[in-house]
């Protein structure tokens, strides 16, 4: 491969190429203060811009006669060109990886070759089925694509949106309305999807059943309260045995009528046996009152439950 640094005229070169959409988020280039030369490729009939096309277009629009460029004068194969473009954009965002994968397919790179040779360069395992998963990101609404970029999501994390593939507008509204991050988003989507699968129903019906569907369009003064409410609803549906056990224990604890200065806690997952009991007694009388209640059969019976 032969590459030279040149000033390309903005009049001559054709700009159409499969790489035009790259990079996904162009304003990221501005932060560095330096704009690197565009990347251009000399074909037998014309010059194609294959890196930072938007910079070339901006120069054209501004009436600049030339633009600095790395010109690839010869390339042995499409794969070699792709490798160079990956290097040019390094480090690539997840959305850029998706765009490049799309471009590779448009250029006719066979899927097995793409999986074996290109995916590892994108830090993705060389598995063919991951090609479709990466391309799924390009189907997402623009807001979710920006979300992926801003939160710097891994492919695995971003694929959580597949679980709600037919309701991506709802997901977008839900995230924006509740101002929640990816972890909470993933937890909600995954739980709705799992419970829908478990109960042989669809995603939307399950979200409606859990009264989560309308939350995408409900106004909340404090989104933290909304998040707590979501957690409570999901836990009650996802962990019915644990929820019931917790409620039973709390009810029995209340009936033991312990003094208010006694705090009783337990493992909410019920794995750890027993109770954590703490209290502050300011004198002997308080101490005896507490001990009397803690010695009651009603309180001791709690240990049969946890």
């Amino acid at each position: 491969m032969k590459i030279s640094v040149k000033e390309l005229t903005t009049v001559g070169p054709a700009i159409h190429s499969s790489f035009t959409p790259l990079p996904f988020k162009r304003e990221m280039d501005r932060g560095s203060g330096l704009i690197k030369p565009i990347l251009a490729y000399q074909t037998s009939s014309c010059i194609k811009i294959v890196g930072n096309t938007h910079v070339f277009l901006a120069a054209q629009a501004a009436g600049k006669p030339t633009v600095p460029a790395y010109l690839i004068e010869a390339s042995e194969s499409t794969l070699e060109l792709l490798e160079l473009i990956i290097e040019y954009y390094h480090p690539m965002s997840l959305m850029d990886k998706a765009l490049l994968t799309r471009a590779a397919l448009d250029l006719g790179v066979p899927r097995p070759t793409l999986a074996e040779k290109i995916l590892p360069l994108l830090d993705v395992a060389p598995r063919e089925k991951l090609i479709d998963q990466i391309l799924f990101l390009l189907k997402l609404p623009p807001e979710l694509q920006v979300f992926i970029l801003e939160k710097d999501l891994s492919l695995k994390r971003a694929l959580i949106f597949q679980r709600a593939e037919n309701h991506l507008d709802w997901v977008t509204r839900f995230i924006e309305n509740l101002r929640i991050g990816i972890n909470m988003t993933a937890e909600i989507i995954q739980n709705i999807w799992e419970m829908a699968e478990r109960d042989d129903t669809d995603f939307k019906s399950k979200a409606q059943e859990l009264e989560l569907w309308e939350m995408a369009d409900t106004v909340f003064e404090d989104n933290r309260i909304a998040v707590m409410e979501i957690r409570k609803k999901i836990n009650a549906a996802r962990y019915p045995t644990l929820t019931q056990a917790g409620e039973d224990l709390a009810s029995e604890l209340a009936s033991a009528e312990l003094p208010p200065n006694v705090k009783v806690k337990w493992d909410p997952q019920f794995e750890q046996q027993g109770l954590d009991i703490s209290f502050h007694a300011k004198n002997e009388d308080e101490l005896e009152a507490v001990l009397e209640k803690l010695s009651s059969n009603k309180f001791k019976d709690l240990f049969k439950k946890i």
Partner: protein, 396 residues
């Protein structure tokens, strides 16, 4: 149960003259046979292949290092029974959704150690060093003990070898009905044929290539008639709609064909798996629903049903076992806490060594003549594992 189709037999030249290799060739006349000088690089490339349902390679090679190891068990938070394993075959054709092997051995190569005599001699030598202890050794940790038996006829080797060893019981654990090779063997009462059991609805949904319940029941009848001891493993119990009825019904069916007097032991355990396994299961078995159940991370880091649910299931199964099988059955929990033992059975072993001793005592009482003298607790408390290293996972 359908025979697992072996498409290719790869023979490491070091074991080319072993009987086991000859049997694999003879019993799979259509399989391609390749003899190679196996190197680490070749092995690595074989294990890196993507598994495909249509392809099953058998790699016959030589076991290096120790053969008998402690059952991997779990940490000391939960009770374990000091079981030992021989991992002669690694990989299983039965493809149960919930199996840990899906996670660890997700490759198309089944490794079989063919230097049988060395393997068995090591077992013999090691158990001889602690002659006052009575050991339980199984081959069903990294594979089903009998799934490949039509090809390997390995059961003939091990059953007759263990028949002559005074202080050990061999356990062949299976979900198959491949018991033909067992029926004429001189086992001397030193082999337990045990079945992992679940209701047919679970077999249909989660134990994809296993024998049906009916096939297993018929196999139990034949094995019992041949004088073998029987074991049952209700492990994993799986939460599903109707479990409260399905498990007691299953237990009733088992004791309609198996005499409790012939049952050496029964284990109970519930679904548990490393959290990382969930995505693999969802990917490989998209129709399975077991991962959508109520599961929490246990104290050993594995995903489990919450304790109130486990207790409910355990009590149901335990009570049905006592109802249909009687009070003399030796029932134990696999990887469960002392608290679970106590809340289900009303008692718990003091330690893993104590549980090991209780096994021996139960066998001594139930099967007169199996041991020369009554097992002493001190021999178990002071016992050491046959090999401290826990069972390994090839290819990793």
């Amino acid at each position: 149960m359908k025979e697992p189709k072996i498409t290719r037999i790869i023979v490491d030249e070091k074991v080319a003259d072993q009987d086991l290799v000859k049997r694999y060739k003879r019993n799979n006349p259509k399989a391609e046979v390749i003899e190679i000088a196996l190197t680490d690089e070749i092995k690595e490339s074989m294990f890196k292949q993507e598994p495909t349902p249509a392809k099953r390679d058998i790699l016959l090679t030589e076991k290096q290092g120790h053969t008998v190891k402690q059952c991997p068990g779990t940490d000391r938070t939960y009770r374990c029974c000091n079981y030992h394993v021989i991992n002669q075959t690694s990989n299983c054709p039965i493809d149960c959704t919930y199996c840990i092997l899906q996670f660890y051995l997700n490759n198309p190569v089944t490794t079989v150690y063919a230097n049988t005599e060395k393997l068995l001699t090591e077992v013999k030598d090691k158990i001889a060093t602690q002659s006052k202890r009575f050991f339980r050794v199984g081959t069903g940790e990294l594979s089903d003990s009998l799934a490949f038996d039509s090809s390997s006829e390995y059961s003939r080797d091990v059953v007759e070898y263990f028949a002559d060893l005074p202080n050990v019981l061999l356990e062949l654990k299976t979900k198959s009905n491949k018991i033909e090779n067992l029926l004429e063997l001189d086992h001397q009462g030193h082999t337990v044929i045990s079945w992992s059991v679940n209701p047919q609805v679970i077999i249909d949904a989660e134990e994809h290539k296993a024998a049906s319940l009916d096939e297993r029941l018929k196999a139990m009848v034949l094995v019992q008639a041949a004088g073998y001891k029987i074991g049952f493993h209700f492990d994993p119990l799986l939460y599903h709609e109707g479990w409260e009825k399905n498990y007691p019904d299953l237990i009733r069916l088992l004791f309609e064909v198996v005499d409790p007097k012939n049952v050496a032991w029964i284990s109970i355990g519930s679904l548990r798996f490393p959290p990382e396994m969930k995505d693999k299961v969802l990917e490989k078995f998209p129709k399975s629903k077991i991962m959508f159940a109520e599961l929490i991370r246990g104290m050993d880091g594995k995903m489990r049903y919450p304790k109130p649910l486990r207790l409910d299931m355990y009590k149901t199964v335990y009570n049905a076992l006592r109802e249909y099988g009687g009070e003399n059955l030796f029932i134990y929990f696999c990887m469960e806490s002392a608290e679970i033992w106590e809340r289900t059975m009303g008692w718990s072993p003091e330690s893993n060594e104590h549980l090991d001793h209780l096994f021996a005592t139960s066998l001594y009482r139930q099967f007169p003549g199996l041991m020369q003298s009554e097992p002493q607790r001190i021999d178990y408390d002071n016992g050491i594992p046959l090999h401290h290293e826990k069972a390994d996972i090839p290819g990793f």
